[in-house]
Structures are given as structure tokens and as C-alpha cells.
Symmetry: C2
Subunit: 182 residues, 2 copies
DNA sequence: CCCCTAATTTACAATCATTCGCAATAAAAC
DNA sequence: GTTTTATTGCGAATGATTGTAAATTAGGGG
């Protein structure tokens, strides 16, 4: 249903989501629908934790329990609707799992946690090919590059950084959101 | 020192490790040396948690505290000596970060946690290029493919699996260790 | 070779993201 | 509508990981 090569989706409306859920014996609940909609309306480059989603929905007057958020995020990640990201912050982050034209990867500075998104179609192709070769159904495919910025290196690293020092790269705009083409 | 394109290493002896540590203001301790040696003598395909390392060293009569294991693993991952893997088990796993000929990636079934390793040189090239482009020093670069095996899909998924059911693919040999060439 | 200082280890406590158990609720099949 | 069974919500529990403070040790300088 609207999938591109088995990975991610373009747009899921209520009926699509219900169908997808029913297919695996699950039900469509208002909570699940709201959570997915929330991600679908989020600007590119947002990586949210369960707590983030909880707070954001709460501010919109939607009182969905934190447990339900956790359960829904995990479920949707396993369905391939969301991507579970393991960047550098010590807890999982989620984003919409988008198909080809928007499918992207992450470059993270382990010192300042700045995250740069970039696209690369050959990686996706590799993922699809590899899953197919093993006879598995692809859910997600992400290249994560861990790196360290030169500013942090120069200051002495990893233990010599004064605890109040902030990596200069972290100050250039937001932590996430930059997209570069390959 | 023995690096290949700035990623990973072939062999680190005591002097190399000391030099690398000193360069960033850290000291070579017997604990750190033993932990790295331990990983260097491990067969390909092992992904160990901090607890695993703790137990393994303890069995060899090396009593290194769990805290030290945690700190050393993190330090060495940040140095690019080890890779921190976020597969599907809910805790981090580590393996030696090896350069080009042995550098590899992971395909994981989110249902049975079976992990398949595969190599692909173009991905490493992409990682190197991308880090360079952003002016960052590359530490690691890993493609993680999340997928689900057809056996689990057929049984109804994700909630219909009886709790005592084991995905058949999980029974084909060990959970980790298979290497396929691209 | 010994001293000194800062880095490190250790044991233990603390944290904090995530999960669990269970009663209450509500999809959706009939 | 009734029934079945997935799901929610709450609070408690879990468990990986990190913090703390005292004791130890690496390694540079005399």
C-alpha cells in the first residue's frame, strides 16, 4: 500500500493504517492514529524520543499515556512506518520512515551530538538487495556514521574537555535538520 | 598508526595503544590493555555486551569491575578502536572496529534477532567521503538493516506470536557469525 | 629509582529510559 | 447489541548505565 520497494510510505490515511494493522492482528485506535499523524506532520529532520512525543501531544490537548507512546512507537517501527534511531543521546529517537526520494542517513559527532542528514540512493539499493538475498522483508536500512569534529579533537579528547565547554559545531544552528545531497 | 583510511586498525600492541591513549591525555592501564586484547583474540562475528566482557574476563581470572568495563568500552568506541552496535537486544554490543578488508555491516531480524554480517566496500567509501565533506574525523560507519523473516510474518506478527514460539530462523546455527560477500 | 600529581579503578548508590502486570476500556467480529 | 480480545493507563519494577568518593596507580620530573 503506497510502499516504494517495500520500504516506508508516502502517506497513510486512516483506512490504510487500519488495513495495515488488521493484517497483523492489531486494531486501529485513536492513540495510534494520532501518533502517526503527528509524525506525518512533523518537519523533516526531527528526531523525537518517546518523552518528546508524549509532551508534544500533551500540549495539543491529547492525553496519551507514556506507556502507550512507547508501545506505539515500537509497534510502528516494527511495521516499518517509523524508524528507530540510535544516535548519541542514550535513548531512542524516532522519525517517519520515508521511501526513496526522502530516505536518508545520519552523520553524528560523538562529542557534540550534532547530527547531519544526507541522502544516498546506492545505500538503499544495497539494503534492499541484501534483505532480498536473505529472503527477509525489509523494514529499515540506515547508515550511521560516527565521527568527531576537529574542534573537539583540538581541545584534547575525550577526557580533557572541561565540563562546561561546548563544541563550537554544536552552536551552528540546531542540532538536527541539515540535509545534503550525495 | 596502522590505520587504513582513518578507520579501525589491524593490530594494536601495547606500545601502539599507549601512544594512542597518551595522544588524548589518557593512560594505559592493565585493564584497558586486557579488554582490547580480549577483543583482538575474539573470533569474527562476536557481538559482546559489557556484561559479556565482564563475565568472560572474570572466567579467565581477570577481575575487572563492571564499571571499568563500561567506561573502557565507551572510551575505545570513541577512539575508533571498537564499534558500538545497536542491534535488537536492548543493550549495546561491541566488536573490534576493523579496517577495509574486514569492515562489515549488519542485517537483523527484529523478531528473532538473528544477525547476518555482510561486507560492502562502497558503503565504507560513502562514509569516508561524507565525513570528509563535513570536515569531521571518521570513527565508525555502519549500515544496519532491520528486517523481518517470513516465518515470523506468516505466523501473524507482531502480537500474535505465542510467547513460547521461536522463530525458525533463530534455530539455524548461532545468532551471529554468518558472513556473506556482496 | 622515588616522588608527586592527576588519571583511574573500585564498590556501591543512584538514575532514568523502558517495560511489565493488571484492572478497566473499547475495537470490531458476529 | 453482545462477545471477544486487543489495548490503554497507571504504578511498580526492571535493568542497563552512570555518578560518587575513597583508594590506587601510571608515568613524568627530579
Amino acid at each position: 500500500m503506497l510502499r516504494t520497494e517495500g520500504l516506508g510510505m508516502q502517506l497513510y490515511d486512516t483506512a490504510d493504517l487500519r488495513a495495515e494493522l488488521h493484517q497483523i492482528g492489531c486494531r486501529l485506535t485513536p492513540q495510534r492514529e494520532k501518533i502517526l499523524k503527528f509524525f506525518q506532520n512533523l518537519p523533516q529532520g526531527n528526531h523525537l524520543s518517546a518523552e518528546d512525543v508524549y509532551q508534544a501531544l500533551r500540549q495539543r490537548g491529547e492525553n496519551i499515556s507514556l506507556s502507550t507512546i512507547y508501545r506505539s512507537l515500537k509497534l510502528m517501527a516494527r511495521m516499518g512506518l517509523l524508524r528507530e534511531l540510535e544516535l548519541a543521546e542514550g535513548h531512542k529517537h524516532y522519525e517517519l520512515n520515508q521511501p526513496y526520494p526522502h530516505h536518508h542517513h545520519h552523520l553524528v559527532c560523538v562529542q557534540c551530538n550534532r547530527t547531519i542528514e544526507f541522502t544516498n540512493t546506492s545505500i538503499l539499493k544495497t539494503g534492499i538487495k541484501q534483505a532480498e538475498k536473505e529472503g527477509l522483508h525489509l523494514l529499515d536500512c540506515q547508515l550511521t556514521i560516527h565521527a568527531i569534529c576537529p574542534e573537539a579533537l583540538r581541545r584534547g579528547w575525550p577526557s580533557l574537555l572541561p565540563s562546561n565547554w561546548v563544541c563550537p559545531r554544536a552552536l551552528n544552528g540546531t542540532v538536527t535538520g541539515v540535509i545534503t545531497q550525495n
